[in-house]
């Protein structure tokens, strides 16, 4: 990502980026994502006014209220197309989307495939807690088989979505997996995603301590689990190898699964425009006048 004005801006600190006090439950994994984002914004040095923090609906999507940037809390499932419009029409901005597993893989699932096809300049962090927490425990598209919830009192009978597999097959040009309980690793993944020129997604396991406590323990060493990194030998450009990683049983691998460079829709749309885009009123008038003449 490039930004010509970055140098002119003073480095943003935590205090600059603090807004409302987070309303998440104590111990929620989402705190770690928020702190990581704020830290990275300082690192990237983007002018504060050029950052747009965007979200959908759910616990994780309360995110924008807790970051002091231009921010949007949109409707359930549709923040990806919203971000599409913003990314295409305002190439000077830095949009980052934070959503949960409901937005990403259920109500808004279709949009992931189409954002990926477009390869927009856009970073998405999915805070996946495998449960609907804001509405107090209903089954999520990533809830494991047998998961008991208020909408599945006998245990879920639906095969959960495998996020990384879905993201790779959708054609996202950057797919990484991380966990909120390992902020160092998360920062590494989000940093790489935010630096990627194209559609980048970080699938981040973020534990819901209230309605899905202990769900990710098998990936947390201090709770007796194993935090298994993507092997060094993995070729991030190899789609088949990425699928092989994604097929691994939970808790699976953490790291960058897939990363390729493809032309972005931002670039290809810009290439349709004349070399000097007609932005001014005079130029527009001249162009439209000439076009309307064809109808006389």
């Amino acid at each position: 990502m490039t930004d010509k004005t970055a140098a002119s801006s003073a480095t943003l600190g935590r205090a600059d980026l603090k807004a409302d006090k987070p309303t998440w439950c104590p111990g929620c994994g989402d705190f770690s994502v928020l702190a990581t984002y704020q830290k990275l914004l300082g690192e990237f040095g983007w002018p504060q006014e050029t950052i747009a923090t965007l979200s959908g609906i759910g616990c994780s999507s309360r995110f924008p209220y807790f970051v002091n940037t231009h921010s949007v809390h949109f409707i359930h499932g549709r923040i990806l197309p919203f971000a599409t419009g913003l990314s295409l029409s305002r190439p000077d901005l830095h949009p980052v989307v934070f959503i949960g597993d409901g937005d990403a893989y259920s109500i808004g699932g279709n949009h992931f495939d189409h954002c990926a096809r477009k390869n927009l300049r856009l970073t998405v962090v999915v805070m996946d807690n495998e449960v609907y927490g804001l509405t107090k425990k209903q089954t999520s598209p990533t809830s494991p088989l047998g998961f008991k919830s208020k909408t599945d009192p006998w245990g879920s009978k639906m095969t959960p979505i495998n996020p990384t597999k879905k993201l790779i097959s959708s054609g996202a040009s950057f797919v990484a997996r991380s966990i909120a309980s390992n902020p160092k690793h998360l920062a590494e993944m989000m940093r790489a995603a935010m630096a990627h020129d194209g559609f980048s997604v970080v699938e981040c396991l973020s534990e819901c301590v209230m309605f899905n406590a202990g769900s990710f323990d098998s990936a947390v060493p201090r709770k007796g689990g194993e935090f298994k990194l993507v092997p060094d030998a993995h070729d991030v450009g190899d789609e088949e190898a990425a699928y092989a990683l994604a097929r691994e049983k939970f808790p699976g691998y953490f790291g960058i699964y897939y990363q390729v460079q493809r032309p972005t829709l931002n670039e290809s749309e810009a290439s349709l425009r004349p070399e000097s885009p007609i932005r001014g009123a005079d130029g527009s008038r001249e162009q439209l006048g000439a076009t309307l003449k064809n109808f006389t």
Partner: protein
């Protein structure tokens, strides 16, 4: 036996109805006639039907050209062109007594007895065989539409130089033989001996007016697309659906020339969401659809109201409900436009009534959206979207200008101030006091942070409604066509304007005095309508939608609720076809007969 020509009939206003199948190219002949009429300073209006099927099926194109104000696409045709026996049989009754029937004598056998009875002049033209002969039999039946154009050019004394120039413009970029063949077919059609017909019928093209001005000839969808560009729209996103699709096809091609983009999205929901994303970015943005798609967009419309984002949402209406009648006309989406969405979600609803309106009124719609930070739903319909009209070349000095200017820094910013109009401040704007706004669909405080405070919700709800009241005060009061008081006022909206005005004129010729009023701004309604209605004993709202238990269509029901006047009644129909003037007059007459006592107040 031949009917003796009665006398030379000189007319300067004629309706030509061409009937064939959808692949015969009658649309393109109709469009060229309309364009030629526009170039000859003639007023022109067209009406067409195309079947929803991909290819084939009966199709008509009707052109009304002449002098003065051509108001409707015409009722009875003066000239009927029938390509096939089924075209002849289906449309003969739309030809006026004493009119002219031009038919392809290779395919049509008219009932001569019937034609004599109705004093119709028959002009047999072997269009198919002559075209094949002229073009060397290679083009199958292609080119017979151009042959017909030649024949009509002769009858209507069109300037052949202009006709040829039009063909050159149309085919010049293609293979050389295409243009050559079309010119041959044209000349063949022009040279064909029409016998007594030309003695019988003389069309006098109007003299170019003194205040001669350039006219553009386009359909409502084209006018809407170019109007949106003139309004400064620089981003759009939508999903294809008939009859809206043509608008997005034009914008997809045109907007990059203006530094903008129009993208086809994966679905209707993504279309409006992407447009809102650009609107949030401060770029004048739009989405659009036809009925079913507008229904899908409704959640995001409520968001746009709550978040106070400016957005243009177009609905080119078709017959409903559900998939309904995709290629027919209906005005049954008004309620949807007014109410699509959940919660108390006041939005602006504007309806275009002419092709010219589609250009100029959409500029106004975008201005309102941006000034009031509100979604504006702009209604067109299938008839308006697809019919060609000629209107004066717009004066681009009034162009609203480019839809985006990077804002300078602001000292401080409240996203939703309670004591003043919301002005959306897009990202990229530096805010000096370091407090950045949230744009949100949650009920919020003035900075856009969540608030469920009861007083705050009441105040914010009021704030969102008040801006429409402010807008209403600035809206023009519609002009009354005809006397400003009397027995009967016909009220309409959308594409029926010309028809209602012509109904008033025709009624006047028949000794009946009606007035007509057309509403463009439907939400909010302009102030002063109630006072106008009180000057008439009957206010009959003419609409192409279904009546409620009171006999009221969708606008009539709205007006009754708003003004509490029992004199407001409905005249409705639901056959999927545009109103004809005589049909409106018959329905008004029937209403008068069944409601003999003038409604008292």
């Amino acid at each position: 036996m031949k009917t003796e020509p009665e006398k030379l009939e000189t007319i300067n206003d004629a309706v030509i109805r061409m009937a064939g199948n959808s692949q015969d190219g009658i649309q393109s002949v109709g469009a060229m006639l309309a364009r030629l009429a526009g170039r000859s300073e003639m007023e022109v209006m067209t009406y067409m039907t195309i079947p929803a099927t991909i290819s084939g099926g009966p199709s008509i194109f009707q052109v009304h050209m002449g002098t003065g104000r051509v108001l409707s696409a015409g009722d009875a045709a003066d000239i009927l062109v029938a390509f096939y026996q089924h075209s002849y049989e289906a449309h003969l009754e739309t030809l006026r007594d004493g009119g002219i029937l031009i038919y392809d004598s290779n395919d049509v056998e008219p009932d001569m007895e019937l034609l004599r009875e109705r004093r119709i002049t028959a002009a047999p033209v072997p269009m198919t065989s002559l075209t094949i002969e002229i073009l060397g039999g290679t083009g199958k039946q292609k080119g017979k539409n151009i042959f017909l154009l030649g024949t009509l050019s002769r009858i209507f004394r069109l300037d052949m130089k202009k006709v040829k120039r039009l063909l050159e413009e149309k085919f010049g970029s293609k293979d050389e033989s295409v243009l050559r063949n079309s010119l041959l077919a044209l000349e063949g059609g022009y040279a064909y001996e029409l016998g007594d017909l030309l003695k019988l019928f003389s069309f006098t093209p109007p003299e170019p007016g003194e205040a001669s001005h350039d006219m553009v000839t386009m359909n409502g969808n084209q006018a809407l697309a170019y109007g949106a560009i003139a309004a400064g729209i620089r981003f759009g996103a939508a999903y294809p659906i008939t009859p809206w699709t043509e608008v997005m096809e034009i914008l997809r091609t045109e907007l990059p020339r203006y530094g903008g983009s129009f993208i086809q999205t994966e679905d209707e929901l993504a279309g409006i969401a992407a447009a809102l994303g650009a609107a949030y970015g401060g770029v004048a943005a739009m989405t659009g659809s036809s009925g079913p798609g507008l229904a899908l967009k409704s959640e995001a419309i409520s968001y746009a109201v709550m978040a106070e984002l400016p957005l243009l949402v177009v609905d080119v209406q078709r017959g409903g409900p559900s998939t309904g009648l995709p290629t027919n006309v209906e005005q049954s989406d008004l309620n949807l436009a007014l109410h699509a969405g959940h919660g108390d979600a006041p939005r602006v609803v504007i309806a275009a009534s002419t092709v010219e309106d589609c250009f100029h009124l959409v500029i106004e719609a975008v201005r309102i959206a941006r000034e009031y930070s509100v979604p504006v739903i702009f209604l067109s319909d299938q008839a308006l979207g697809t019919r060609l009209e000629a209107y004066p070349l717009p004066d681009l000095e009034e162009l609203a200008g480019p839809g985006f200017e990077k804002p300078g820094p602001a000292a401080t910013h409240k996203a939703y101030p309670l004591d003043e109009q919301t002005r959306h401040l897009p990202p990229g704007t530096r805010i000096e006091d370091g407090r950045y706004p949230c744009v949100t669909g949650l009920e919020h405080d003035e900075y856009g942070h969540p608030s469920a405070n009861p007083k705050n919700h009441a105040a914010m709800t009021r704030k969102r409604a008040e801006k429409l009241e402010r807008l209403a005060r600035s809206l023009p009061i519609p002009e009354i066509h005809g006397p400003d008081s009397g027995e009967t006022l016909l009220v309409g909206w959308g594409s029926t304007k010309g028809i209602l005005h012509e109904a008033v004129s025709r009624a006047a010729r028949e000794g009946q005095t009606y007035s007509a009023l057309h509403v463009n701004y439907i939400n909010p309604l302009p102030n002063g309508l109630g006072a106008i209605f009180k000057n008439f004993r009957r206010v009959l709202v003419v609409e192409m939608n279904a009546p409620d238990p009171n006999g009221c269509g969708q606008l009539a029901a709205l007006l009754r609720a708003r003004y509490c006047l029992d004199r407001i009644r409905g005249i409705t129909k639901t056959d999927g076809l545009a109103f004809r003037v005589r049909e409106v007059l018959a329905m008004v007459e029937a209403f008068h007969e069944t409601h003999a006592c003038p409604i008292s107040q």
